[in-house]
């Protein structure tokens, strides 16, 4: 992690997946005056394209980026197992997702718990004051680890189970998009000059976005409601695959 030594100012660890939400979160961290270190996870996801998207976004933002390879040998998710189909978006189910009881097959057990755990370990080791995560609990798939009550519980874990926590300087967990609609996120991204054309949201792992999975559906609706064209789609259409 030689990159860590190049960080200046107050440091933050930003969980960057390469999608719309995490890219916008990275630019939020920058706008708040943090020097971000981007943590990217290669966790066996079928949509590996998001990893190269994340690298490009970090480079564009001028931020160091560490890609961590982690393996969950127990699978159990259509996001890890290419033999399982990624379900198409169902607007009625997505509407009910806020209740958090109906969880799609793309759920990866413990994913954000693991990502935040790595982030807090990194933050303590490099002396970062905050972790940024792009979790969002409005226009989302219904994953329980994207909800504010989960983020609040994780803050308690840091307060009680880490050196920074017991020494009353707990690493903060910031989730600036947690209560925003996808349209609000799109508008915020535009305001912050996020390189939207570099972001990748589709779960399916093909050369172009499938247009039918939860992630494609929510993204398209967000751009539509914001009254904007999606520059990543334009790019895909112009140049073929995005990446």
């Amino acid at each position: 992690m030689s990159n860590a030594s190049t960080l200046r100012g107050k440091k933050a660890v930003v969980l960057l997946s390469g999608g719309l939400d995490s890219a916008t979160t990275l630019y939020c961290a920058r706008a708040q005056g943090y020097a971000p270190l981007c943590l990217v996870f290669d966790y066996g996801q079928r949509h590996r394209r998001e990893i190269s998207a994340a690298r490009r976004i970090a480079r564009k933002a001028g931020c160091p980026c560490a890609v961590l390879k982690i393996r969950l040998p127990w699978a159990g998710s259509s996001l890890l197992d290419a033999s399982l189909p990624v379900p198409g978006a169902d607007p009625r189910r997505l509407k009910r997702a806020g209740r958090g009881k109906e969880i799609p097959s793309t759920y990866v057990p413990g994913r954000n718990i693991l990502f935040l755990s790595y982030a807090v370990s990194c933050a303590e080791a490099i002396g970062a004051q905050a972790i940024f995560i792009g979790a969002n609990a409005l226009d989302y798939s219904g994953y329980p680890d994207c909800r504010p009550q989960f983020i609040a519980a994780f803050r308690q874990v840091i307060a009680r189970g880490t050196r920074s926590g017991v020494q009353s300087r707990a690493v903060q967990v910031r989730a600036p998009l947690i209560d925003k609609t996808k349209a609000q996120i799109v508008r915020l991204a535009k305001k912050l000059s996020v390189p939207l054309e570099l972001t990748w949201s589709c779960y399916a792992g093909a050369a172009a976005p499938c247009g039918t999975c939860d992630s494609c559906f929510l993204r398209a609706r967000g751009f539509k409601e914001a009254g904007m064209e999606d520059p990543a789609l334009q790019r895909t259409t112009r140049h073929g695959a995005n990446g």
Copy 2:
């Protein structure tokens, strides 16, 4: 993880490091009627000998065992960085450790948070009802992630951030040694026929236990107070290195 399919009965994921506490915890899980799957972490620790100890203990207990290789490229601990000295035990400091503010250089940022995160991911994927961890907050080094308030906070993370949690069948976190003295753990281990001769506790990573680190000191005091000889030490003395 083909081993997982061989599990019978109610399943548990047991975090096994190869030391006295986690081996005793494994035998507690068995005694409570669980079919344990042992999770062992190769996290770059200097005392890698504990990994082979863990494998032997799992084999002896007749339990499947998965070794996960994880990397924390940010180091920052004398347990990961062999160029830093492992401090000798200071009984006065250990007495103060319960307050949780004085943390030795062997602290690994976020270690038990990470281990529990992997365990809950595994537990949900294989349908295990419980996770067992050998954390102990009496005769310990003062790590904040070994204390009951940390375990309680992590239970809330599972309740709010996982599928099992929001579906009111949260994976349980059991820490059967949390309030026991080391002498009580030694006696319990004897009662449960834990293969103590196979356990490895020393932090230092040499061929034989150093006898001076926190872990060696606490172990020796526990055996002394329990009025027992340490069979691992006898084995080392008789056969040279234990492993």
